[in-house]
Protein backbone atom coordinates (compact mmCIF):
# COMPACT_ATOMS: atom_id res chain seq x y z
CA UNK A 1 0.00 0.00 0.00
CA UNK A 2 2.74 2.43 1.04
CA UNK A 3 4.76 1.66 -2.10
CA UNK A 4 1.81 2.28 -4.38
CA UNK A 5 0.58 5.39 -2.57
CA UNK A 6 3.65 7.49 -3.28
CA UNK A 7 3.45 7.40 -7.12
CA UNK A 8 -0.35 7.66 -7.03
CA UNK A 9 -0.21 10.76 -4.83
CA UNK A 10 2.29 12.45 -7.14
CA UNK A 11 0.33 11.51 -10.27
CA UNK A 12 -2.88 12.91 -8.74
CA UNK A 13 -1.30 16.33 -8.27
CA UNK A 14 1.05 16.44 -11.25
CA UNK A 15 -1.58 15.35 -13.80
CA UNK A 16 -3.83 18.42 -13.34
CA UNK A 17 -0.80 20.71 -13.14
CA UNK A 18 0.57 19.25 -16.40
CA UNK A 19 -2.84 19.72 -18.03
CA UNK A 20 -2.82 23.38 -16.93
CA UNK A 21 0.73 23.91 -18.21
CA UNK A 22 -0.10 22.24 -21.54
CA UNK A 23 -3.15 24.50 -21.96
CA UNK A 24 -1.04 27.54 -21.19
CA UNK A 25 1.69 26.54 -23.63
CA UNK A 26 -0.98 25.97 -26.27
CA UNK A 27 -2.37 29.42 -25.54
CA UNK A 28 1.05 31.02 -25.81
CA UNK A 29 1.75 29.54 -29.27
CA UNK A 30 0.68 32.71 -31.17
CA UNK A 31 3.50 34.49 -29.35
CA UNK A 32 6.08 32.35 -31.16
CA UNK A 33 4.31 31.83 -34.45
CA UNK A 34 4.31 35.55 -35.23
CA UNK A 35 1.06 37.15 -34.10
CA UNK A 36 -0.85 39.57 -36.26
CA UNK A 37 -0.42 43.29 -35.87
CA UNK A 38 -3.33 44.96 -34.14
CA UNK A 39 -4.57 48.48 -33.69
CA UNK A 40 -2.23 50.25 -31.21
CA UNK A 41 -4.84 51.64 -28.80
CA UNK A 42 -6.72 49.26 -26.51
CA UNK A 43 -9.47 50.02 -24.00
CA UNK A 44 -8.21 50.10 -20.43
CA UNK A 45 -10.03 47.76 -17.98
CA UNK A 46 -11.63 49.53 -15.06
CA UNK A 47 -12.21 46.85 -12.40
CA UNK A 48 -11.23 47.60 -8.80
CA UNK A 49 -8.25 45.26 -9.10
CA UNK A 50 -7.29 46.48 -12.56
CA UNK A 51 -7.23 44.04 -15.47
CA UNK A 52 -7.58 40.27 -15.23
CA UNK A 53 -5.77 39.67 -11.97
CA UNK A 54 -2.80 37.36 -12.14
CA UNK A 55 -0.90 38.58 -9.08
CA UNK A 56 -0.31 35.25 -7.43
CA UNK A 57 1.03 34.77 -3.94
Amino acid sequence: MKTVLLPIAWILVLAPLSWGVARSVQRSMPLFTGGTTAAPEKPVPTGPAGPASTNRP
Binding site: L17, S28, L31, G35
Partner: protein, 462 residues
Protein backbone atom coordinates in the same frame (compact mmCIF):
# COMPACT_ATOMS: atom_id res chain seq x y z
CA UNK B 1 -0.50 4.51 7.04
CA UNK B 2 -2.70 4.30 10.12
CA UNK B 3 -2.08 6.80 12.87
CA UNK B 4 0.22 5.44 15.56
CA UNK B 5 -1.46 7.16 18.48
CA UNK B 6 -4.67 5.47 19.67
CA UNK B 7 -7.76 7.69 19.92
CA UNK B 8 -8.27 9.38 23.28
CA UNK B 9 -12.02 9.14 22.98
CA UNK B 10 -13.86 6.74 20.73
CA UNK B 11 -17.02 8.82 21.07
CA UNK B 12 -15.67 11.45 18.71
CA UNK B 13 -13.55 9.42 16.28
CA UNK B 14 -14.05 11.87 13.42
CA UNK B 15 -12.81 14.84 15.39
CA UNK B 16 -9.97 12.78 16.78
CA UNK B 17 -8.73 11.74 13.35
CA UNK B 18 -8.40 15.43 12.47
CA UNK B 19 -6.25 16.22 15.50
CA UNK B 20 -2.52 16.83 15.36
CA UNK B 21 -1.90 13.74 17.55
CA UNK B 22 -3.70 11.48 15.09
CA UNK B 23 -1.56 12.68 12.21
CA UNK B 24 1.81 11.82 13.73
CA UNK B 25 3.54 9.61 11.17
CA UNK B 26 4.58 6.09 12.07
CA UNK B 27 7.91 4.47 11.27
CA UNK B 28 8.49 3.96 7.56
CA UNK B 29 6.32 6.87 6.45
CA UNK B 30 7.87 8.55 3.41
CA UNK B 31 8.24 12.30 3.83
CA UNK B 32 7.81 12.60 0.05
CA UNK B 33 4.08 12.00 0.58
CA UNK B 34 3.73 15.35 2.33
CA UNK B 35 4.52 17.64 -0.67
CA UNK B 36 1.73 16.15 -2.84
CA UNK B 37 -0.66 16.59 0.11
CA UNK B 38 0.31 20.27 0.30
CA UNK B 39 0.20 20.74 -3.47
CA UNK B 40 -3.29 19.17 -3.62
CA UNK B 41 -4.61 21.89 -1.31
CA UNK B 42 -2.63 24.77 -2.81
CA UNK B 43 -3.48 24.01 -6.44
CA UNK B 44 -7.18 24.05 -5.50
CA UNK B 45 -7.20 27.32 -3.59
CA UNK B 46 -4.94 28.85 -6.27
CA UNK B 47 -8.08 28.81 -8.41
CA UNK B 48 -8.77 32.29 -7.04
CA UNK B 49 -6.41 33.69 -9.69
CA UNK B 50 -8.41 32.13 -12.46
CA UNK B 51 -11.62 33.61 -11.05
CA UNK B 52 -11.56 36.49 -13.54
CA UNK B 53 -12.88 34.09 -16.23
CA UNK B 54 -16.26 34.28 -14.45
CA UNK B 55 -16.39 38.09 -14.39
CA UNK B 56 -17.77 38.72 -17.86
CA UNK B 57 -20.29 35.81 -17.82
CA UNK B 58 -21.59 37.09 -14.45
CA UNK B 59 -22.54 40.37 -16.14
CA UNK B 60 -24.91 38.48 -18.48
CA UNK B 61 -26.97 36.48 -15.97
CA UNK B 62 -30.25 38.26 -16.77
CA UNK B 63 -29.71 39.78 -20.18
CA UNK B 64 -28.33 36.53 -21.60
CA UNK B 65 -26.10 37.03 -24.63
CA UNK B 66 -26.47 40.82 -24.30
CA UNK B 67 -25.65 42.63 -21.05
CA UNK B 68 -28.75 44.31 -19.56
CA UNK B 69 -27.31 47.52 -18.02
CA UNK B 70 -30.42 48.17 -15.90
CA UNK B 71 -30.50 44.82 -14.08
CA UNK B 72 -27.27 42.91 -14.74
CA UNK B 73 -24.19 43.25 -12.54
CA UNK B 74 -21.29 45.34 -13.87
CA UNK B 75 -17.60 44.36 -14.23
CA UNK B 76 -16.49 46.67 -11.36
CA UNK B 77 -19.20 45.13 -9.13
CA UNK B 78 -18.12 41.54 -9.80
CA UNK B 79 -14.43 42.58 -9.61
CA UNK B 80 -14.95 43.15 -5.89
CA UNK B 81 -15.52 39.40 -5.33
CA UNK B 82 -11.85 38.75 -6.06
CA UNK B 83 -10.65 41.71 -4.01
CA UNK B 84 -12.72 40.68 -0.96
CA UNK B 85 -11.37 37.12 -1.22
CA UNK B 86 -7.78 38.42 -1.28
CA UNK B 87 -8.28 40.67 1.72
CA UNK B 88 -9.89 37.81 3.66
CA UNK B 89 -7.00 35.54 2.65
CA UNK B 90 -4.53 37.86 4.37
CA UNK B 91 -6.74 38.57 7.38
CA UNK B 92 -7.65 34.95 8.06
CA UNK B 93 -4.04 33.80 7.69
CA UNK B 94 -3.04 36.45 10.23
CA UNK B 95 -5.90 35.82 12.67
CA UNK B 96 -6.03 32.00 12.55
CA UNK B 97 -2.26 31.39 12.38
CA UNK B 98 -1.95 30.36 16.02
CA UNK B 99 -4.99 28.09 15.76
CA UNK B 100 -3.43 26.48 12.68
CA UNK B 101 -0.23 25.73 14.60
CA UNK B 102 -2.21 24.27 17.51
CA UNK B 103 -4.62 22.23 15.43
CA UNK B 104 -2.19 20.72 12.98
CA UNK B 105 -2.31 20.49 9.19
CA UNK B 106 -5.12 17.96 8.74
CA UNK B 107 -7.78 19.82 10.70
CA UNK B 108 -6.73 23.08 9.01
CA UNK B 109 -6.86 21.54 5.53
CA UNK B 110 -10.35 20.15 6.22
CA UNK B 111 -11.48 23.55 7.53
CA UNK B 112 -10.00 25.16 4.42
CA UNK B 113 -11.81 22.68 2.14
CA UNK B 114 -15.11 23.25 3.96
CA UNK B 115 -14.79 27.05 3.74
CA UNK B 116 -13.50 27.24 0.17
CA UNK B 117 -15.97 24.74 -1.29
CA UNK B 118 -18.99 25.98 0.68
CA UNK B 119 -18.01 29.46 -0.52
CA UNK B 120 -18.35 28.18 -4.09
CA UNK B 121 -21.72 26.59 -3.26
CA UNK B 122 -23.00 29.82 -1.65
CA UNK B 123 -21.82 31.72 -4.73
CA UNK B 124 -23.71 29.30 -6.99
CA UNK B 125 -26.87 30.01 -4.96
CA UNK B 126 -26.10 33.75 -5.14
CA UNK B 127 -25.77 33.55 -8.92
CA UNK B 128 -29.02 31.56 -9.21
CA UNK B 129 -30.91 34.09 -7.02
CA UNK B 130 -29.02 37.00 -8.60
CA UNK B 131 -28.00 38.18 -5.12
CA UNK B 132 -24.57 39.80 -5.38
CA UNK B 133 -24.23 40.14 -1.61
CA UNK B 134 -24.44 36.35 -1.34
CA UNK B 135 -21.59 35.94 -3.85
CA UNK B 136 -19.54 38.49 -1.88
CA UNK B 137 -20.28 36.53 1.30
CA UNK B 138 -19.76 33.13 -0.31
CA UNK B 139 -16.67 33.36 -2.51
CA UNK B 140 -15.33 36.58 -0.96
CA UNK B 141 -15.70 36.09 2.80
CA UNK B 142 -16.22 32.35 3.44
CA UNK B 143 -14.08 31.27 0.47
CA UNK B 144 -11.44 33.87 1.37
CA UNK B 145 -11.12 32.40 4.87
CA UNK B 146 -10.63 29.00 3.21
CA UNK B 147 -7.84 30.51 1.10
CA UNK B 148 -6.00 31.89 4.13
CA UNK B 149 -6.28 28.64 6.11
CA UNK B 150 -5.22 26.49 3.17
CA UNK B 151 -2.30 28.74 2.28
CA UNK B 152 -0.57 28.47 5.65
CA UNK B 153 -1.76 24.96 6.61
CA UNK B 154 1.19 22.92 5.28
CA UNK B 155 4.00 25.48 5.73
CA UNK B 156 5.44 24.55 9.11
CA UNK B 157 4.73 20.84 8.56
CA UNK B 158 6.77 20.83 5.35
CA UNK B 159 9.67 22.59 7.04
CA UNK B 160 9.64 20.05 9.87
CA UNK B 161 9.74 17.18 7.35
CA UNK B 162 12.49 18.83 5.27
CA UNK B 163 14.83 20.59 7.74
CA UNK B 164 17.62 19.89 5.26
CA UNK B 165 15.79 21.57 2.33
CA UNK B 166 13.13 23.93 3.75
CA UNK B 167 13.17 26.27 0.74
CA UNK B 168 12.54 23.48 -1.72
CA UNK B 169 9.80 21.95 0.45
CA UNK B 170 7.71 25.11 0.81
CA UNK B 171 8.55 26.03 -2.77
CA UNK B 172 6.76 22.91 -3.96
CA UNK B 173 3.54 23.77 -2.10
CA UNK B 174 3.55 27.40 -3.14
CA UNK B 175 4.30 26.30 -6.71
CA UNK B 176 0.96 24.48 -6.48
CA UNK B 177 -0.76 27.77 -5.65
CA UNK B 178 0.79 29.36 -8.74
CA UNK B 179 -0.38 26.41 -10.81
CA UNK B 180 -3.91 26.76 -9.46
CA UNK B 181 -4.74 29.48 -11.98
CA UNK B 182 -3.37 27.38 -14.83
CA UNK B 183 -5.96 24.74 -13.89
CA UNK B 184 -8.80 26.90 -12.53
CA UNK B 185 -9.14 29.28 -15.48
CA UNK B 186 -9.44 26.69 -18.29
CA UNK B 187 -11.52 24.43 -16.05
CA UNK B 188 -13.98 27.26 -15.37
CA UNK B 189 -14.19 28.10 -19.08
CA UNK B 190 -14.71 24.45 -20.05
CA UNK B 191 -17.41 23.93 -17.40
CA UNK B 192 -19.31 27.07 -18.40
CA UNK B 193 -19.14 25.97 -22.06
CA UNK B 194 -20.53 22.59 -21.03
CA UNK B 195 -23.41 23.91 -18.90
CA UNK B 196 -24.42 27.05 -20.78
CA UNK B 197 -27.82 27.27 -22.38
CA UNK B 198 -29.89 29.99 -24.03
CA UNK B 199 -29.93 32.91 -21.59
CA UNK B 200 -27.70 31.17 -19.00
CA UNK B 201 -23.90 31.36 -19.22
CA UNK B 202 -23.59 28.30 -16.93
CA UNK B 203 -21.82 30.02 -14.03
CA UNK B 204 -23.82 28.40 -11.17
CA UNK B 205 -23.41 24.75 -12.28
CA UNK B 206 -19.73 25.46 -13.00
CA UNK B 207 -19.30 26.70 -9.39
CA UNK B 208 -21.05 23.62 -8.02
CA UNK B 209 -18.96 21.22 -10.10
CA UNK B 210 -15.76 22.98 -9.08
CA UNK B 211 -16.83 22.79 -5.42
CA UNK B 212 -17.17 19.00 -5.74
CA UNK B 213 -13.88 18.50 -7.59
CA UNK B 214 -11.90 20.77 -5.31
CA UNK B 215 -13.41 19.18 -2.17
CA UNK B 216 -12.24 15.76 -3.38
CA UNK B 217 -8.67 16.95 -4.02
CA UNK B 218 -8.39 18.98 -0.83
CA UNK B 219 -9.74 16.18 1.35
CA UNK B 220 -7.30 13.80 -0.34
CA UNK B 221 -4.50 16.15 0.71
CA UNK B 222 -5.87 16.30 4.26
CA UNK B 223 -6.03 12.51 4.46
CA UNK B 224 -2.48 12.15 3.16
CA UNK B 225 -0.73 14.73 5.35
CA UNK B 226 1.23 13.66 8.44
CA UNK B 227 3.38 15.48 10.97
CA UNK B 228 6.75 14.02 11.96
CA UNK B 229 7.29 12.55 15.42
CA UNK B 230 9.02 14.95 17.81
CA UNK B 231 12.35 13.09 17.64
CA UNK B 232 12.27 12.43 13.88
CA UNK B 233 14.99 13.67 11.57
CA UNK B 234 16.03 12.73 8.02
CA UNK B 235 18.31 9.74 7.80
CA UNK B 236 21.96 10.75 8.00
CA UNK B 237 21.15 14.40 8.60
CA UNK B 238 22.72 16.20 11.52
CA UNK B 239 20.99 19.41 12.64
CA UNK B 240 23.21 22.49 12.67
CA UNK B 241 23.48 24.23 16.01
CA UNK B 242 20.43 26.39 16.67
CA UNK B 243 21.10 29.95 15.70
CA UNK B 244 24.14 29.05 13.60
CA UNK B 245 24.40 30.33 10.05
CA UNK B 246 23.38 26.97 8.55
CA UNK B 247 20.56 26.16 10.91
CA UNK B 248 17.28 27.64 12.02
CA UNK B 249 17.17 30.30 14.68
CA UNK B 250 16.13 29.61 18.23
CA UNK B 251 12.35 29.78 18.19
CA UNK B 252 10.46 33.02 18.62
CA UNK B 253 6.71 33.06 19.37
CA UNK B 254 4.36 34.67 16.88
CA UNK B 255 3.39 37.38 19.36
CA UNK B 256 7.03 38.23 19.96
CA UNK B 257 8.05 37.99 16.29
CA UNK B 258 5.47 40.67 15.50
CA UNK B 259 7.44 43.06 17.71
CA UNK B 260 10.85 42.55 16.09
CA UNK B 261 12.29 44.80 13.35
CA UNK B 262 13.12 41.64 11.37
CA UNK B 263 9.41 40.85 10.94
CA UNK B 264 8.65 44.30 9.56
CA UNK B 265 11.72 44.28 7.30
CA UNK B 266 10.53 40.99 5.79
CA UNK B 267 7.01 42.46 5.56
CA UNK B 268 8.48 45.27 3.47
CA UNK B 269 10.55 42.80 1.42
CA UNK B 270 7.41 40.82 0.53
CA UNK B 271 5.30 43.92 -0.07
CA UNK B 272 7.86 45.43 -2.47
CA UNK B 273 8.40 42.13 -4.28
CA UNK B 274 4.63 41.68 -4.80
CA UNK B 275 3.98 45.28 -5.83
CA UNK B 276 6.79 45.16 -8.39
CA UNK B 277 5.71 41.81 -9.83
CA UNK B 278 2.21 43.05 -10.36
CA UNK B 279 3.73 45.71 -12.62
CA UNK B 280 4.21 43.06 -15.25
CA UNK B 281 1.63 40.42 -14.32
CA UNK B 282 -1.38 42.67 -13.92
CA UNK B 283 -0.73 44.40 -17.26
CA UNK B 284 0.92 41.52 -19.12
CA UNK B 285 -1.52 41.07 -21.97
CA UNK B 286 -2.20 44.78 -22.53
CA UNK B 287 1.46 45.70 -22.18
CA UNK B 288 2.50 43.18 -24.85
CA UNK B 289 -0.23 44.45 -27.18
CA UNK B 290 0.60 48.11 -26.64
CA UNK B 291 4.38 47.81 -26.75
CA UNK B 292 4.61 45.53 -29.79
CA UNK B 293 1.33 46.22 -31.58
CA UNK B 294 0.26 42.59 -31.49
CA UNK B 295 -3.30 41.21 -31.25
CA UNK B 296 -5.23 40.07 -28.18
CA UNK B 297 -4.47 36.38 -28.88
CA UNK B 298 -0.72 37.01 -28.71
CA UNK B 299 -1.15 39.18 -25.59
CA UNK B 300 -3.19 36.43 -23.92
CA UNK B 301 -0.54 33.89 -24.88
CA UNK B 302 2.11 36.07 -23.27
CA UNK B 303 0.12 36.21 -20.02
CA UNK B 304 -0.25 32.43 -20.09
CA UNK B 305 3.48 31.96 -20.60
CA UNK B 306 4.28 34.22 -17.66
CA UNK B 307 2.02 32.08 -15.46
CA UNK B 308 4.20 29.07 -16.21
CA UNK B 309 7.36 30.97 -15.25
CA UNK B 310 5.63 32.29 -12.14
CA UNK B 311 4.89 28.70 -11.13
CA UNK B 312 8.29 27.26 -12.06
CA UNK B 313 10.20 30.09 -10.38
CA UNK B 314 8.57 29.23 -7.06
CA UNK B 315 10.17 25.81 -7.01
CA UNK B 316 13.49 26.64 -8.67
CA UNK B 317 14.42 29.83 -6.81
CA UNK B 318 13.32 28.56 -3.40
CA UNK B 319 15.44 25.43 -3.99
CA UNK B 320 18.37 27.66 -4.94
CA UNK B 321 17.89 29.52 -1.64
CA UNK B 322 18.75 26.31 0.24
CA UNK B 323 22.21 26.51 -1.34
CA UNK B 324 22.84 30.27 -1.34
CA UNK B 325 21.01 31.34 1.80
CA UNK B 326 17.82 33.38 1.86
CA UNK B 327 19.38 36.83 2.13
CA UNK B 328 21.55 36.26 -0.93
CA UNK B 329 18.72 34.95 -3.06
CA UNK B 330 16.52 37.95 -2.19
CA UNK B 331 19.42 40.27 -3.05
CA UNK B 332 19.51 38.55 -6.48
CA UNK B 333 15.73 38.99 -6.89
CA UNK B 334 15.92 42.69 -6.14
CA UNK B 335 19.16 43.62 -7.94
CA UNK B 336 18.64 41.51 -11.05
CA UNK B 337 14.93 42.33 -11.02
CA UNK B 338 15.57 46.09 -10.97
CA UNK B 339 18.10 45.75 -13.80
CA UNK B 340 15.69 43.68 -15.90
CA UNK B 341 12.79 46.10 -15.29
CA UNK B 342 15.01 48.93 -16.54
CA UNK B 343 15.74 46.86 -19.67
CA UNK B 344 12.07 46.32 -20.63
CA UNK B 345 11.56 49.76 -22.29
CA UNK B 346 14.79 49.14 -24.23
CA UNK B 347 13.48 45.82 -25.62
CA UNK B 348 10.49 47.77 -26.98
CA UNK B 349 12.76 50.43 -28.42
CA UNK B 350 14.80 47.89 -30.40
CA UNK B 351 11.59 46.01 -31.30
CA UNK B 352 12.76 42.64 -29.93
CA UNK B 353 9.71 40.69 -28.84
CA UNK B 354 11.85 37.63 -28.01
CA UNK B 355 14.06 39.63 -25.66
CA UNK B 356 10.98 41.24 -24.09
CA UNK B 357 9.50 37.80 -23.40
CA UNK B 358 12.81 36.47 -22.01
CA UNK B 359 13.32 39.47 -19.70
CA UNK B 360 9.75 39.51 -18.35
CA UNK B 361 9.72 35.72 -17.91
CA UNK B 362 12.86 35.95 -15.75
CA UNK B 363 11.33 38.83 -13.75
CA UNK B 364 8.20 36.81 -13.09
CA UNK B 365 10.14 33.70 -12.12
CA UNK B 366 11.84 35.78 -9.40
CA UNK B 367 8.51 37.29 -8.36
CA UNK B 368 7.19 33.75 -7.79
CA UNK B 369 10.45 32.83 -6.10
CA UNK B 370 9.96 35.68 -3.64
CA UNK B 371 6.68 34.21 -2.45
CA UNK B 372 8.06 30.71 -2.15
CA UNK B 373 11.25 31.63 -0.31
CA UNK B 374 9.67 33.78 2.40
CA UNK B 375 8.55 30.88 4.69
CA UNK B 376 12.10 29.50 4.79
CA UNK B 377 13.46 33.02 5.47
CA UNK B 378 11.05 33.26 8.42
CA UNK B 379 12.16 29.86 9.66
CA UNK B 380 15.81 30.97 9.50
CA UNK B 381 15.01 33.99 11.67
CA UNK B 382 12.24 32.82 14.00
CA UNK B 383 12.66 29.02 14.12
CA UNK B 384 10.03 26.41 13.25
CA UNK B 385 7.91 26.59 16.42
CA UNK B 386 5.22 29.00 15.15
CA UNK B 387 6.55 29.74 11.68
CA UNK B 388 3.16 29.04 10.05
CA UNK B 389 1.46 31.61 12.24
CA UNK B 390 4.23 34.17 11.61
CA UNK B 391 3.93 33.49 7.88
CA UNK B 392 0.19 34.08 8.21
CA UNK B 393 0.74 37.54 9.64
CA UNK B 394 3.33 38.37 6.98
CA UNK B 395 0.83 37.56 4.22
CA UNK B 396 -1.00 40.79 5.09
CA UNK B 397 1.84 42.48 3.14
CA UNK B 398 0.80 40.64 0.00
CA UNK B 399 -2.88 41.25 0.66
CA UNK B 400 -2.27 44.99 0.78
CA UNK B 401 0.06 45.03 -2.24
CA UNK B 402 -2.32 42.89 -4.31
CA UNK B 403 -5.21 45.29 -3.83
CA UNK B 404 -3.38 48.63 -3.90
CA UNK B 405 -0.66 47.74 -6.44
CA UNK B 406 -2.79 46.98 -9.52
CA UNK B 407 -4.97 50.03 -8.91
CA UNK B 408 -1.90 52.28 -8.75
CA UNK B 409 -0.32 50.80 -11.87
CA UNK B 410 -3.59 50.95 -13.79
CA UNK B 411 -3.98 54.59 -12.76
CA UNK B 412 -0.46 55.60 -13.91
CA UNK B 413 -0.64 53.96 -17.35
CA UNK B 414 -4.17 55.26 -17.96
CA UNK B 415 -3.15 58.79 -16.95
CA UNK B 416 -0.13 58.64 -19.31
CA UNK B 417 -2.31 57.51 -22.22
CA UNK B 418 -4.83 60.26 -21.50
CA UNK B 419 -1.97 62.77 -21.42
CA UNK B 420 -1.12 61.82 -25.00
CA UNK B 421 1.89 59.55 -24.37
CA UNK B 422 2.04 56.89 -27.15
CA UNK B 423 0.66 53.53 -25.95
CA UNK B 424 4.02 51.84 -26.59
CA UNK B 425 5.74 54.20 -24.12
CA UNK B 426 2.94 54.54 -21.55
CA UNK B 427 4.43 51.79 -19.38
CA UNK B 428 7.96 53.18 -19.08
CA UNK B 429 7.19 55.29 -16.00
CA UNK B 430 5.52 52.33 -14.30
CA UNK B 431 8.48 50.08 -15.05
CA UNK B 432 10.95 52.57 -13.58
CA UNK B 433 8.69 52.87 -10.53
CA UNK B 434 8.95 49.08 -10.18
CA UNK B 435 12.76 49.41 -10.20
CA UNK B 436 12.44 51.86 -7.32
CA UNK B 437 10.22 49.52 -5.33
CA UNK B 438 12.70 46.68 -5.82
CA UNK B 439 15.55 48.85 -4.57
CA UNK B 440 13.53 49.69 -1.43
CA UNK B 441 13.07 45.93 -0.97
CA UNK B 442 16.83 45.43 -1.44
CA UNK B 443 17.64 47.91 1.32
CA UNK B 444 15.13 46.25 3.67
CA UNK B 445 16.65 42.85 2.88
CA UNK B 446 20.19 44.04 3.54
CA UNK B 447 19.12 45.44 6.92
CA UNK B 448 17.91 42.01 8.12
CA UNK B 449 20.03 40.69 10.99
CA UNK B 450 19.55 37.68 13.31
CA UNK B 451 16.87 38.18 15.96
CA UNK B 452 18.16 39.38 19.33
CA UNK B 453 18.28 36.53 21.90
CA UNK B 454 15.95 38.44 24.24
CA UNK B 455 13.09 37.54 21.85
CA UNK B 456 13.82 33.79 21.96
CA UNK B 457 11.47 31.41 23.71
CA UNK B 458 13.03 29.98 26.85
CA UNK B 459 10.95 26.80 26.78
CA UNK B 460 8.77 25.48 24.00
CA UNK B 461 5.41 24.09 24.98
CA UNK B 462 4.63 20.75 23.33
Amino acid sequence: MRPETPPDSMSVPLLHCLSREATVAGPGFSRWLVPPAAIAVHMCIGEVYGFSVFNEPMTRLIGGAAHDPTRDWTIPQVGWIYSIALVLLGLSAAVFGKWVERSGPRKTMVASAVCFCSGLVLSAIGVRLHALWLVYLGYGVVGGIGLGLGYIAPVSTLMKWFPDRPGMATGMAIMGFGGGALIGAPLGVSLMAHFKSAGDPGVAPAFLTMAGLYAAWMLFGAWLVRVPAADWKPEGWQPAAAGSKAGPARSVSVDQAWKTPQFWLLWLVLCMNVSAGIGVLGQASLMCQDMFGVGAAVGGGFAGLLSIFNMGGRFLWSSVSDLTGRRTVYAIYFLLGALLYALVPWTQKIGSRTLFVAVTALIISMYGGGFATIPAYLRDLFGTHQVGAIHGRLITAWSLAAVVGPGLINYISTAKKKAGVPAAEAYNGTLYLMCGLLLVGLVANLLVRPVHPRHHLQTIAP
